[in-house]
Amino acid sequence: MHSNDAQMLVLTVLADGPLHGYAINTAIQELTGSRLGPGSLYGALSRLEARALIRPAGAEADASPRERHRTMEITDAGRDALRAELEQMNRIARAGLRALGINPA
């Protein structure tokens, strides 16, 4: 899976509420049918945090950076980025369905 896809999946499941790494992957598995590999998942988390699209949740923001399971939450910038990405995908999906002669709902 492409790293940008992994980032979008992480943002999508975090949009529902804060989760820690393993729970994020379980939510992705429920959504897509397969788990992300550890490199894809934690690479995506690192990149998203570096871009300030996600952050440690609530009290964990002040906790030790070596906390065993850090719960992460989506930021406002993350919500904006996810919305823009999903709207673009929606436009592409509608155009593709129209081209195939299928009326998008």
């Binding site: 992957n25 788990r35 590999g37 998942l41 934690y42 690479g43 690192s46 570096a50 399971h69």
Partner: protein, 254 residues
Amino acid sequence: MNAAALIVGLYPPAVRDRWGPGIRDELDAAGLRSWPDAIIGAVRLWLRPSTWPETSTGQTRRVAAVALFAVTSATMLMLRAVEPSPALTADTRHIATSLWLIPTLLGIALAAPLPPLRWSALRRLTAVAIRALAGPAAALAAMVLLANSGVLKQTSGLTDVLLVSYYWGTLAFGAVAACVLVGRVAGAAVLPSRRRLGTALVLLGTGLASAALQNAMACVKSGSVTPSFAATIALALLAAATITAGQDLRPHRT
């Protein structure tokens, strides 16, 4: 130490500190099939230092500086091991074959932590340097004394193996000690900025790419394929990695 712990150890320290237990849990749950993704993920994160979550102040700069010196040390050991072709000599009579050293040395100079201009910090720096380099310096002195003592004129068999092992062990010990020194002086010296480290990595990568090109041309001319050709591939890979990481560390213009 099991395989999962070894794989977690491949990740940059900041990522390991932050996500290590989670990566370990995923590796334990998914088993062998998750190893390739985890290893590729570690390599990709090393190439993107700007995404490391700093778990202590200056951690990214310290780790990037140590990594630069580790790449330099590995390159020097590799070139020594393969008896480099005349294309890579550092010889004032053959300026063209030494060109790769110019960006390489500039990169090393830019990445070197600067000594502070305070007596207390200088004393601390000197103490750290002595502690880190005393071992390799003693091993090197013993090797020079042994080589010049005359007792090694007629050696064979096991003695030869031991002497060659001692030689390589000393070189490797010195290389590791140099990297340890760069890591330990962070508290007492002024670390280069991210921009400067990025430029240093790009310069080192340019030097390694030039060395790979010069070596490849020499391989083609001579028709020799090994082991110099293997060194060319290794130099090219190291060049690509350092340039990628350097570009990532430099601030991007938007």
